[in-house]
């Protein structure tokens, strides 16, 4: 096509708008939907209508992202990235959005949550995520982060009649605000240390002017790491996750476990590789310990969980640790491994939560592992799908589909690096063995325990939940045998790159 290579000058408003087309589509559409949602009184039917419209909008945005992503863009330096990493992350966010809203439709109706605006809030959160994935400037990143967080705080407390939901939401809000403060202070100190909030300028100056060892910058980087660790739920900053995950409505939990974490990771990776890529020796130890602690803590505590939502919460903590292993290697491959991991993890998590949604009813939430005894004898398809999701989270080949390749990719990224992370890899596989203890426990009760006497009959599976479950499982399994297209996709486009050095002599940039 003629337009296959488009050049944009992001300092002018026109091209900047063009670079933000998908984000603008989503934001403007979401504002429109918000008005529509307020148009009529709350009712189950209205809730469903708004939900379906929200899904449509997310799909349209997805189309816009794919259309943008299929072109090559050349951009001048700016606050917005136009690269493959952004598009790939957006695809995952939007996919998670569609799946989560799909699950919410039936769930909300069942639980009597009739606020139609809840679906629109998900869209706003997604818009924030997309900005985070695109941000090449710490201030823009912060804007995106807050847009996302505020929406998610509300979503976590959506079920106003549940005390647990309120508790979780309050915890999330307080700790979230706390972590935001860390992040903001970190941004301020990094600005103080380098004289810029633009990632490329920061990165260039750190190498060019050898700023790596200045105390102000170091403290700034440390605070940023803490801020991100909160959002990614890395140990020891993960304490909020289990309570929030347990309290929030299940579809929202799925959305948080998949998309919110993904967005935090996307922003983190971009900042870490583009701005601080050359400081690898300096932050390596911190990230190393963060990864090791997260893997160990997440997996060990997950072993003791008897509630499936809490179990998945700790499992999501553990997966944060696994992805951090790739980050610790400090190469660009971490970004591609992350994208692959993200896709597999999102599908498996969404699928697992969809099973919880599908088997629950207004009277029986069915969130305890005990509720799954003998599921195979009553709902074989559901049990097999759940087993696939568990094995995918475990990272088992063939039966766990893409889950294995995700782990493989992370291992490969960790080992195929100038500084191979062999010890972290060993911790990774050992903690994976620990994780087999709880993932297999779920499989075991479903297949090997009898259905308890006098168990309440399971409800009919709502069609949307069924679609999510079958879709996720099939996708995981098919691309678990032939991962080639996905690997190519994660590598496509301009991936994250370390910034070339900027020296004081460079005419383009004024000295700090």
């Amino acid at each position: 096509m003629q337009f296959s290579n488009l050049s944009l000058d992001l300092s002018r408003p026109g091209p900047l708008m063009l670079a933000l087309v998908p984000d603008l589509v989503l934001l403007v559409g979401a504002l429109g939907l918000l008005l529509y949602a307020a148009w009529r009184p709350d009712s189950a039917a209205h809730q469903r209508r708004v939900g379906l419209a929200s899904m449509m909008l997310a799909v349209i945005t997805l189309a816009a992202v794919v259309a943008m992503g299929s072109r090559e863009w050349t951009v001048s330096q700016g606050v917005i990235a136009v690269d493959g990493f952004r598009w790939a992350s957006d695809v995952v966010f939007l996919m998670a959005t569609v799946l989560a809203i799909g699950l919410s439709l039936d769930y909300n109706e069942r639980e009597g949550i009739l606020t139609a605006e809840s679906h629109v809030l998900v869209l706003f959160a997604t818009a924030g995520m997309m900005i985070m994935a695109a941000a090449r400037d710490l201030m823009v990143l912060f804007l995106g982060l807050e847009t996302m967080s505020v929406a998610v705080y509300v979503l976590a407390g959506l079920n106003r009649r549940s005390a647990r939901s309120a508790e979780g939401a309050l915890k999330y809000f307080l700790l979230g605000a706390f972590s935001t403060a860390f992040l903001l202070y970190g941004i301020a100190l990094v600005y103080g240390g380098t004289g810029s909030t633009q990632l490329q300028v920061i990165g260039g100056r750190i190498t060019g002017l050898t700023l790596g060892a200045t105390p102000m910058l170091l403290v700034g980087v440390g605070l940023l790491l803490v801020g991100f660790a909160f959002k990614m739920a890395a140990a020891p900053f993960h304490m909020w996750a289990p309570d929030v995950y347990e309290g929030a409505p299940t579809p929202i939990t799925a959305y948080m476990a998949a998309a919110v974490k993904a967005a935090a990771f996307a922003a983190f990776l971009r900042v870490w590789i583009e701005a601080f890529g050359h400081m690898h020796e300096i932050w390596h130890t911190a990230v190393w310990w963060l990864a090791a602690a997260t893997m160990v803590v997440g997996n060990l505590i997950a072993l003791q969980q008897r509630n499936l939502k809490r179990l998945l919460a700790y499992s999501s903590v553990a997966h944060t640790g696994f992805i951090l292993v790739a980050v610790a290697a400090g190469t660009e491959q971490a970004a591609t491994a992350f994208l692959f991991y993200l896709l597999a993890y999102t599908l498996a998590t969404m699928g697992a939560f969809a099973v919880i949604v599908a088997l629950g009813s207004a009277e029986h939430a069915r969130e305890r592992i005990d509720d799954y005894h003998g599921l195979w004898f009553e709902r074989p398809g559901m049990a097999i799908a759940m087993a696939v999701f568990m094995l995918a989270l475990l990272g088992f080949p063939v039966f766990g589909g893409m889950g294995f390749f995700a782990k493989w990719y992370v291992l490969q990224a960790a080992i195929d690096a100038p500084a191979p992370q062999v010890w972290l890899s060993i911790i990774l596989v050992l903690t994976t063995t620990v994780s087999a203890g709880y993932y297999l426990h779920v499989v075991m009760v479903m297949f090997m325990k009898p259905r308890p006497e006098g168990a309440v009959p399971l409800p009919a599976v709502p069609p949307m939940a069924r679609a999510v479950i079958v879709g996720s499982a099939v996708f995981l399994l098919v691309f678990g045998l032939f991962p080639d297209p996905i690997v190519r996709w994660t590598r496509g486009g301009g991936m994250l790159q370390r910034t070339p050095p900027i020296t004081a002599a460079s005419p383009a940039v004024p000295a700090p």
């Binding site: 088992f396 490969q412 060993i426 063995t433 087999a436 297999l440 297949f447 090997m448 590598r491």
Partner: protein, 524 residues
Amino acid sequence: MAAFLESLNYNGWILPALLALPLLGAFLVWAHRMAAGDGDAAAMTARRLTLAVLVVEFILSLGLWWSLDQANPSWQAVVDVPWIDVWGVRFAVGVDGLSLMMVLLTTFLMPIAILGGWTSVRTKTHAYHALMLLLTTGVLGVFVAKDLFLFYVMWEVMLVPMYFIIGIWGGERRIYASIKFFLYTMAASLLMLVAIVILGVAAGTQGRPDFSYEAIVALEGFRPAAAFWLFTAFFVAFAVKVPMFPFHTWLPDAHVEAPTAGSVILAGILLKLGTYGFLRIALPFFPGIAMHPTVRTTIIVLAVIGVIYGSLVALVQPDIKKLVAYSSVAHLGFVMLGIFALTTESVQGALMVMIGHGLSTGALFLLVGIIYERSHTRLIDAYGGIARVVPLFATILTVVALSSIGLPGTNGFVAEFLVMLGAFKEYPVLTLVSALGVILAAAYLLWAVQRMIYNPLDKPANARLTDLNWRELGYLTPILVGILWLGLYPQPVLNRMESAVARLVNDVGARAAEQRASMVLGGR
């Protein structure tokens, strides 16, 4: 025969076909379940369908016996296509003198195992048979994999069906046994995964890893300490599978709790994957480490401990199934002795023990299953004098027990004799100690046989036992034929192994000497 096979281009498609056919069978079984439900008639169809698929599989695989060029020591019937191109992963399969008999053993035992579980599996029959078929693909995949990535994937693939087979259709403590089996194997094999990634990345060029067998064998230049740890990763994965003393504790639980067919496959085939891994991977990849005197002696000592310990524990078991399970530990100790003694005779002997153990122990588990189905007890003391009631059973049990002990004229004798003959040259004292294991084997098996089928018939319940029926006789006969054939005329089998074994022994010996000259195993 060879010319006929060539006219079919047999070598060009056989291995993918062998891997694909059970998958197709599993799909058919599943489709039948969806269409016909799981009534008794449908369950019988599932059994017949599975049996038919596995018999066809066996007949197809038989062609390998003739199509393989005996003089050629390297991979044959190779099929090599890209799988995950961007990671340099290929779907590469092949077969040689080391794996030929393992492939045939697998395809031979699978239909027999299905017949062995014909009446004992009554619930969820379709799922059981579909899992059996998946298991076949997984096991064959390991034996023919020529790409390390594929090897690992297949290695893990067989784990899940076995986990479900033990956990769903097993005995009383099935859940504990299945989890233990899964966790042990998985923990050990994940370390192997890390080692495979490291090797693949090291063998790669221009940022693209290479997992092909040839590329990795040709790798040189790991520091001795690094090579030592890589070897250890593979060693643990394989030693757990074998299982070597002291990694054997999962075995008695898994074997005893598994349903009959599961035990037959576990003992007959799955254990051989570990020893095969040593032959195929651990030795050729790290000759310098494996043949280092300290490492080698340690492993041989562990092997001999396994022989003696397994036999002694078997001696005191009141439960016949557990006795057979522990006898596996002893037999596999012989295999390890043969492999690490690394002479042509001893390695050939090790391969013969692997085949022979598959037949004898497989048959023992089948016989135990047969008698258990009738009396619902596995305690040796619950029987006694049943030869008068079930003469056919008693005869076959005696013959199989004798072959397991290694009576001349049966497979056991040829195999263990070769191992000792070969190993004696390298490790005379340890080999003599291991010979004690043969004597102990005679003690525990003959004693158990005596208590079960001779002695006075003093339990009234046993007087009502029924003898073997046609189905049972039908699947035991091929095993008996195999036992006698390998005992009386093993030459064709040995011929097919010889060139590959000789090359392995020479290569590993030569490269080990070369590497030893340039290294001192320091700084572990």
